[in-house]
Amino acid sequence: MSWDKFTSTQKIATRNGFGDGLLEAARSNPKIVALCADLAGSLKMDLLEKEFPSRYFQVGVAEANMIGMAAGMATSGLIPYTGTFANFSTGRVYDQIRQSVAYSGKNVKICASHAGLTLGEDGATHQILEDIGLMKMLPGMCVINPADYAQTKAATMAIANHEGPVYLRFGRPDWPVFMQNEKFEIGKAITLREGKDVSIFATGHMLWQALEAVRLLEQEGIDCELINIHTIKPLDIEAIIKSVKKTNRVVSCEEHQRNGGLGDSIAQTLALHHPTRMEYVAVNDSFGESGKPMELIEKYGLGVKDVVAAVKKIVL
């Protein structure tokens, strides 16, 4: 299997993938409507607003009401996509999502931009690093964190055909595009490189970081298996176990707290099915701060060098 194809010639933000995917999904599915809490430009929802003004609902700075309205619209058979930053999509409206969406079994797509540290200069008030944990604990909630523009666009379109609540998490900064040729299927892991020394499971922006790390490690003779877990729930347990049975070493990579994120889901899987040594590349029980996205990535232990170090720690 050739993995040389995973190179990037351009950078586009994952949020652009959401905006483009939403417009394309709306063109083919008349049941799709969009609700936005005063962030249409940031989430690129203005594309849908321009082409389908009657299907776009500006709700203002009122996220709790947005979630409730979406639950009502879903009850009537529409497919509402809500849009705001990840912080305001989850922590701020947790009870609304829990009762009116998840417990009520509503087909609402909660779409969350500016997740994680790479939101940058706005600082920790906006840099939520707990959202995956919050959402994955809700029964029936599907949780997806795509890796690049192309995968975000594909995921945005795919969730329209998934019956039930979805949390779709993406980000702010321009980011390498490299997954354009990979088929996206909810709950199905994607193997980028097969290897025998260690299984690296990465989600969101961290897939590119892991990919660069694997290239460096390759030069040092370390044979990494790199797997993209874009869907944190439902988790592709089969793919994880199959890989780990071969490598017996695991590194997880995510732009999220270590507590409650992808790594914890993998650790639980390992504990139940195949106990294995594991290292986390994640934020370790800390809030972020203001700074440039890549400065924050480096400072909080999510750099390429951090992935390399985690792999070496467990392999060597």
């Binding site: 409730g68 009502g72 509402p80 009116s100 509503k106």
Partner: protein
Amino acid sequence: MKTIAELQSIASQVRRDIIRQTWSAKSGHPGGSLGCADYLTSLYFNHLRFKLPFTMNGNDEDIFVLSNGHISPVFYSILARTGHFPVDELATFRKLNSRLQGHPATQEHIPGVRIASGSLGQGLSVALGLALAKKFQADTKLVFALTGDGELQEGQNWEAIMAAAHYKADNLIVTVDWNGQQIDGPNDKVISLGDLEGKWKTFGWTVLHANGNDMQDIDQKISDAKSHVGQGKPIVILMKTIMGFGVDYMMGTHRWHGVAPNDEQTAKALDQLTETLGDYKI
């Protein structure tokens, strides 16, 4: 259309159902349920254009959303007495494996319930979403919602109230159960609602007043509210009720908000409420 006397007769049975459900479950919320029995009887028997068998989407039918989910005993009684599910199922209220959860839920697929409620302040948003969805789908039927008064202390309501006016949701009729009581005492002691009429008016709603325990009046006011539909403004009925109405020792106090009557109290309550449609079996 039912006559006022017929509605009153039904409401008496609904009140018996409320007492018997909470007594049997040894828990639940009889006070607010009794206060809203007349409103819900009038709404479901004379106004709400619903279809059976129940379908979740409610397309081409009027929809009711209960925001103050703790008054589930009156909601369940009304749904049972209007044929949504067997009346005898009321005996399962709050018991293990029942479709009649302590607060309404959709997980058990109980006909007539479209959204979970209980955590307060969320129902108006849901009702607004339904109302806008109806407009979007060119469905001319209406959305009704009931909220408590203490519940209006939840800020989400005011987000929904503002947005409903912005979107000219003139197919939405909200009723406030204004009994003046909440768990810790009178609203005015807990957190005053202030000028409630002024608040709704300033937010851009058409405001009506009703006596929710005068069947003639509440039945008329629901008709009046419907006459305001399609005029560019959402409609609210500020409905004065007495918590515990119909059972003398429960009336006008917050003490029966969330307390079930014991055997003796139940007997005393049922003595005051005529059995008109037949009690369900326990």
